[in-house]
């Protein structure tokens, strides 16, 4: 962690997250170490603080988010409203940063985003519009495009799925930090894909450092899944920042396995993280076992994207009695 200083902005605390060694769930592995980037420790509670900050600051530098963007703005000299679709965490990151910098934020979410997320967003003063939950995140994406096209002067459309500042954030920060924190020992980078910003950006940095580092994406096994934040690319609107050829492999995961391992992370490692972290650790252990069978040594790094307490109202943690009994 960075040393404490007085007078820093909370924005300065984005990134530089700890790299945690997963000790207990990896018992039995002899030649493979697994580490997780503790992204839930970002001030907004998720990995999304990184791309949100870079998207906003890039727009500021390019003059897209200034008080003089256009004379047609509905409220005098207000800067345009930050607009995007999100399943929640990115919206929270925009909300937090928008509050600090004085921007209004409007977000389109599928209605089945968790109640905790909606409450956090309202607390940050974010205007929310919900789309049909049966249409998933793609429904929110389609809606936000329509809304922006109708009101281009009113909004700055952040467009996390297509904005190059998203992977660039991970190239400039996440990837660089992982190389430093592992002292260059990383051999495999295992990451869940949603927008794909993390694996595309940090992955590019890792490949430049050492082309032998393997990039492995964790993807839901089926289109119908319950792993918040992950996308099944086969059926989804594919983000333009995503390049499947850049990956070395994909590991499909069942929702039930992701949930089980998220709970184990809380119960055994003391890490209260969300289901996408459960998916990340399940896939990392799955890969580790394969590598051990081949007698390979490896240093796997994965990413735990967000906090588990954003899911208390969701099927991940309910009913909790069953979780305790099951363990």
């Amino acid at each position: 962690m960075t040393k404490e200083t007085v007078g820093e902005s909370i924005l300065d605390k984005i990134g530089n997250t700890p790299l945690i060694k997963i000790e207990k769930l990896t018992q039995g592995l002899k030649n493979v170490e697994i580490y997780a980037k503790a992204e839930w420790l970002n001030p907004g509670g998720s990995v999304k603080d990184r791309p949100a900050l870079r998207i906003i600051e890039t727009a500021e530098k390019k003059g897209k988010l200034t008080k003089n963007k256009s004379g047609n703005q509905p409220r005098g000299n207000h800067p345009p409203i930050i607009l995007d679709s999100s399943s929640g965490n990115m919206a929270i990151a925009y909300g937090m940063i928008g509050a600090i910098k004085g921007y209004r934020v409007e977000m389109i979410l599928p209605e089945n985003a968790s109640e905790e997320r909606k409450k956090v967003l309202r607390t940050y003063g974010v205007k929310l519009t919900f789309t049909n939950p049966a249409e998933g995140t793609d429904g929110a994406i389609r809606y936000v495009h329509q809304l922006y096209e109708k009101n281009p002067d009113k909004y700055f459309f952040a467009d996390q799925y297509n904005n190059k500042a998203n992977p660039l954030a991970h190239y400039k920060t996440t990837g660089k930090e992982i190389i430093k924190q592992t002292k260059g020992r990383i051999t495999h980078f295992v990451v869940g894909i949603g927008t794909s910003g993390t694996i595309m950006g940090a992955g590019k940095r890792l490949k430049e450092f050492n082309p032998n580092i393997k990039l492995i994406a964790v993807e839901p096994e089926h289109a119908l899944h319950g792993i918040e934040g992950l996308k099944y690319m086969g059926s989804a609107i594919v983000p333009s920042i995503y390049n499947e050829n850049f990956l070395d492999a994909k590991i499909p995961i069942k929702t039930e396995d992701a949930y089980e391992y998220a709970r184990k992370l809380a119960l055994v490692e003391g890490l209260l993280v969300g289901e996408s972290s459960g998916a990340a650790i399940w896939a990392s252990i799955h890969l580790a076992k394969q590598l051990e069978e081949k007698g390979e040594k490896a240093v796997i790094v994965t990413v735990f994207p967000d906090r588990g307490d954003r899911y208390f109202s969701t099927p991940l943690w309910c009913p909790i009695e069953e979780v305790v009994r099951g363990w």
Partner: protein, 99 residues
């Protein structure tokens, strides 16, 4: 019992992209069996190995979450409307989109 079933986007590959279909069953359980006959593969998506509806899938009968009714044994009658909603991050029993 003929009921109307709303299909979420991730399952529409199985229903030839139909967003709404007609199916039969006296209970939700029977409805799922009927869906499986009409659209093979559907049951595996909706239910786990023991036949229980997967934790991350919410099924609503006339806007009511079957978890607050009788789960798989929830009874159906002619003209009921059933919605399958992935609970990607929760889901709500009072969804405005079910109306």
């Amino acid at each position: 019992m003929s009921v109307k079933v709303r299909i979420p986007a991730p399952l529409r590959k199985l229903t030839e992209n139909k967003t709404e279909i007609e199916a039969n069953g006296k209970t939700v359980q029977e409805l799922i069996e009927n869906l499986e006959k009409k659209f093979p593969g559907m049951k595996d998506r909706l239910c786990d190995e023991t036949g229980k509806i997967r934790r991350f899938i919410n099924i609503y009968v006339n806007e009511q979450d079957i978890r607050f009714l009788e789960n798989e044994n929830t009874k159906l009658k002619d003209g009921d409307e059933v919605s399958i909603i992935p609970a990607i991050a929760g889901g709500r029993k009072d969804s405005a989109f079910l109306k």
